[in-house]
């Protein structure tokens, strides 16, 4: 336990120390807003009930946007990957555009969505979907393809049809890769929710809007608190999907299995 947790905790302490050092030694009293002291961030950002309520409301909205985007990206991404795995022509027609989605700067399109769909919840979710879609398609497709030819032969030999093969062989085999995709996309979706806010300044404020607002008002303790919260959300979803993967496929898949369980 100590071996596992001591090193990262030490790093955290060292980083906090550096923060204090930078704040106290490099910055004068007037410049300190550039890097407020950690305990001030905690006291003002989280300690003040009004501030905390504002931050948590914004965080909840951003989390809602990110998770809605992730769910839609998951359904669409897995659906597209399954379709591509079942027919070569579907893959040949669609995969280049999936790659395109990854190569074009989706964020550059964000103002367009505002144009077309308004600046509300829907547009924000759409940003998350587009940014989170590709890793889900790519990982799911890779997973569905990971079954070996002898396993396919075995199913063919005993009269299994396309759907049986998909459901009993390809889909379970793809689960570890799907979880990898989910982990990546969950983080991206949080990024999408925060960055979407920077463009959509109307409507109820998400955590991104608050960050921008605090920045413009030079309320740096609040801003740092908001940045920490947004980061915590990203870490939380990453951890959650790692936890879920261990629960679902950990008993049989090496990449997520506890090494002690292997005999």
């Amino acid at each position: 336990m100590i071996r596992r947790f001591a090193p990262p905790v030490l790093v955290l302490l060292a980083a906090t120390g550096l923060w204090y050092a930078a704040s106290l030694l490099l910055l004068s009293e007037e410049e300190r807003f550039l890097m407020p002291l950690p305990h001030d961030v905690l006291a003002i950002g989280f300690g003040d009930p009004d501030n905390l309520a504002e931050l948590l409301t914004a965080l909840a909205l951003s989390a809602q946007v990110a998770m809605s985007g992730l769910v839609i990206a998951f359904v669409v991404g897995v659906g597209l990957a399954v379709a591509m795995s079942q027919a070569k022509w579907v893959e040949r027609s669609l995969y280049p555009y999936a790659v395109l989605l990854q190569t074009i700067p989706v964020l550059a399109l964000v103002p367009l969505f505002g144009f077309w769909f308004g600046f509300g919840f829907g547009s924000r979710v759409l940003v998350c979907v587009l940014i989170a879609l590709f890793p889900l398609i790519a990982n799911t497709l890779f997973g569905l393809r990971s079954v070996n030819s002898a396993q396919l032969d075995l199913f063919a030999l005993h009269g299994a049809g396309r759907w049986t093969r998909l459901w009993k062989l390809q889909f379970p085999a793809a689960l570890p890769a799907i979880f990898t995709g989910l982990r990546i996309s969950a983080g991206l979706s949080v990024i999408g929710a925060v960055v979407g806010d920077f463009f959509f300044k109307q409507g109820e404020p998400g955590i991104g809007i608050l960050i921008d607002l605090y920045r413009s008002r030079l309320q740096s303790e609040q801003m740092f608190a908001a940045v920490l919260l947004a980061s915590a959300l990203g870490i939380a979803v990453f951890w959650f999907f790692g936890f879920l993967a261990r629960r679902v496929v950990g008993s049989w898949h090496e990449s997520v299995r506890d090494p002690a369980a292997v005999s």
């Binding site: 396993q151 075995l154 063919a156 030999l157 005993h158 009993k168 049989w252 369980a261």
Partner: protein
């Protein structure tokens, strides 16, 4: 009566390579036929054609039964399923009732001596045990024709011999017709009632040896003069064909 018959069978692939040419042989019920040959001579193609996984480009293949067991070189177990559930797979694909699946799997698992491991996942088993699970899985279809594609190739010598004895026992007990592809002449002679030798690509049958030893066979048989003499003859034929 034959369980499997090849008449003038040839196999050409789309890229123009010819894997097999003029293959003629029958496998009768109660026979266990091994096919030995140099690498790349089309042995696996021959098994795939026998199983119906691939079609012959020439000639005809007759198979008298749909109850075909196929043991692959790799155990091809599904790592997310337990041993029990892996062994039930084929009955499941064939839409048998839950009770029937369970009964067949229980019996097959017991036959290969893995009852204590029914709840384990493949990742927790040794290579030899995984191969036993693979055998048990095929046994659940109660095969009349059992095909083996270098089933023990990836195992160490001791495990290999143990599984060979296991296979002989199952052959006597269940009375299926067997067709096995292997690299090992000793293994072929020890397990079979007949050994076919294939030439280099394209594979043709260049030797057909009856194995006169009765059953049950014991490991000491490998060291008897008649055995080593026959194995030597087959090896010589194999070398001649391989050039």
């Amino acid at each position: 009566m034959t369980m499997l018959g090849f008449t003038g069978v040839g196999k050409r692939f789309a890229d123009g390579t010819t894997a097999l040419a003029d293959i003629d042989f029958d496998v009768a019920p109660g026979e266990f036929v091994s096919v030995v040959g140099p690498s790349g001579c089309g042995k696996t193609s021959l098994l795939r054609i026998a199983a119906g996984l691939s079609t012959a480009s020439e000639g005809t293949v007759r198979r008298e039964t749909d109850r075909v067991g196929y043991v692959f070189q790799d155990p091809t177990l599904l790592p997310w399923r337990t041993v029990q559930s892996n062994v039930e797979l084929l009955a499941e694909l064939r839409h048998l009732s839950k009770r029937e699946r369970r009964e067949r799997a229980d019996e097959a698992i017991e036959l290969v001596g893995l009852s204590d491991f029914a709840g384990h996942r493949p990742g927790q088993l040794s290579g030899g045990m995984r191969m036993r699970v693979s055998l048990a899985r095929s046994l659940t279809v109660d095969p009349e024709l059992f095909l083996f594609d270098e089933p023990f190739g990836a195992l160490d010598e001791i495990t290999r011999q143990r599984l060979g004895d296991e296979l002989l026992r199952l052959f006597r007990l269940r009375g299926f017709a067997g067709l096995m592809v292997t690299h090992s002449v000793t293994e072929a002679v020890y397990l079979s009632t007949r050994v076919l030798v294939l030439s280099d690509r394209p594979g043709r049958v260049i030797g057909d040896f009856a194995v006169p030893f009765g059953h049950p066979r014991s490991p000491e048989l490998r060291f008897e003069d008649d055995f080593t003499h026959l194995a030597g003859k087959i090896s010589a034929c194999l070398r001649g064909g391989a050039g």
